[in-house]
Amino acid sequence: MRTPLTAAAGAAAAVLLAGCGPQAATGDDSPYNGSEVKGAFTLPDADFTDSKGEEYNLREDSAGAYTAVFFGFTNCPDICPTTMADMAQAVAELDEAERDRLNVVFVTADPDRDDPELLDMWLGSFDPSFTGLTGDLETTDAAASELGISIERPEDREGDYQVGHGSQVLLFSPEGESELMWRYQTGPDAIAEDLGALLDGEGA
């Protein structure tokens, strides 16, 4: 009788331990605050217009520097401004050499309302060096989908409407391969720490 019970207890303990595993992994095993998504996504070869009105290919024009990508929209009152403010604060914590090797790209999930001019003004309240991208709906949704980011836009887009979207920020290597994912409210200090570690690691 004893052995099966002990085995059951052992199995239960293993399950409990395993249950704790995934949550602990980010904090304990990884040197980063964000989740490591090395190579899980590649920056899409997709053509957008940037907030200065210039053509911007997400893959080609981001190459050569680390690139943080977030999909959102400027009529979003809470999540998007908070995320951009966090990113701006994180970037402000970096030194100039680190900043030079980082792009922050905001892709609008709502190109019907967000034109380059509005994106430029909106991003200006966080960090004028951030790049805002607008594209047609098809390009935008395909790019988001390639990156595992969902966009849910209402069919009826008259008047005030909201766009649902994945709220994660993805960080890509200078080669365009995904490195890290920060979930909403990771916080600027945690993001800056990750950026510093990656950017310094690369330089050393």
């Binding site: 980010t26 904090g27 009529n75 009152p77 809470d78 701006a88 909106w122 309240s125 649902g164 979207h165």
Partner: protein, 174 residues
């Protein structure tokens, strides 16, 4: 006015007063306070967010049924909802404020959405009027905060107090 009607009216008023007093005595009425109200400087002139804490120290539940301000065309209550990796907002028309509890409108959860706020500058104050199912209107002065400054203060607090807890939450999706 016929005396009978006047007497009836007076009687009704007295009864209502008695009922109100009784409710007060037995702790059966909600008691609402609103504190810590802030509104963000709009980054898009069409919309911005507002945050506050609504507390009910009374003995009965109440329901927040709406928020109004002269500083915007409309104020809506929204909850941020995450489902299958998509973050979206759901409008709320009623927010229960139960007896002895407080409800926080904060980034990432319930928040106020001010539509058409026009120009607001950091340091301005905006008067918010809260309407309830039971209680009388409650007004609170919200301080207008820069999105960078405001977020900075909030987050440094988060880091100190429950930074680890935040990280645990961040593991949920994967």
């Amino acid at each position: 006015m016929p005396a009978a009607i006047a007497r009836t009216a007076a009687g009704a008023a007295a009864a209502a007063l008695a009922a109100a007093l009784l409710a007060g005595c037995s702790g059966g009425a909600p008691e609402i306070t609103a504190t810590g109200a802030t509104v963000r400087v709009p980054s898009n002139p069409g919309v911005t967010a507002g945050y506050l804490t609504v507390e009910n120290t009374g003995g009965a539940d109440d329901i927040l049924t709406g928020v109004a301000t002269d500083a915007a065309e409309e104020v809506q209550m929204h909850a941020t909802v995450e489902e299958d990796g998509t973050t979206s907002m759901e409008q709320r028309y009623e927010v229960p404020i139960r007896a002895g509890e407080s409800v926080e409108f904060a980034s990432g959860g319930l928040h106020l959405m001010l539509m058409g706020p026009g120009e607001l500058e950091a340091g301005d104050t905006v008067r918010l009027t809260l309407s309830f199912a039971e209680s009388d209107d409650v007004t609170v002065e919200a301080e207008v905060e820069d999105v960078m400054g405001g977020a900075g203060e909030d987050h440094s607090e988060h880091q100190d107090m429950d930074g680890m807890e935040d990280m645990d939450h961040s593991g949920h999706g994967g």
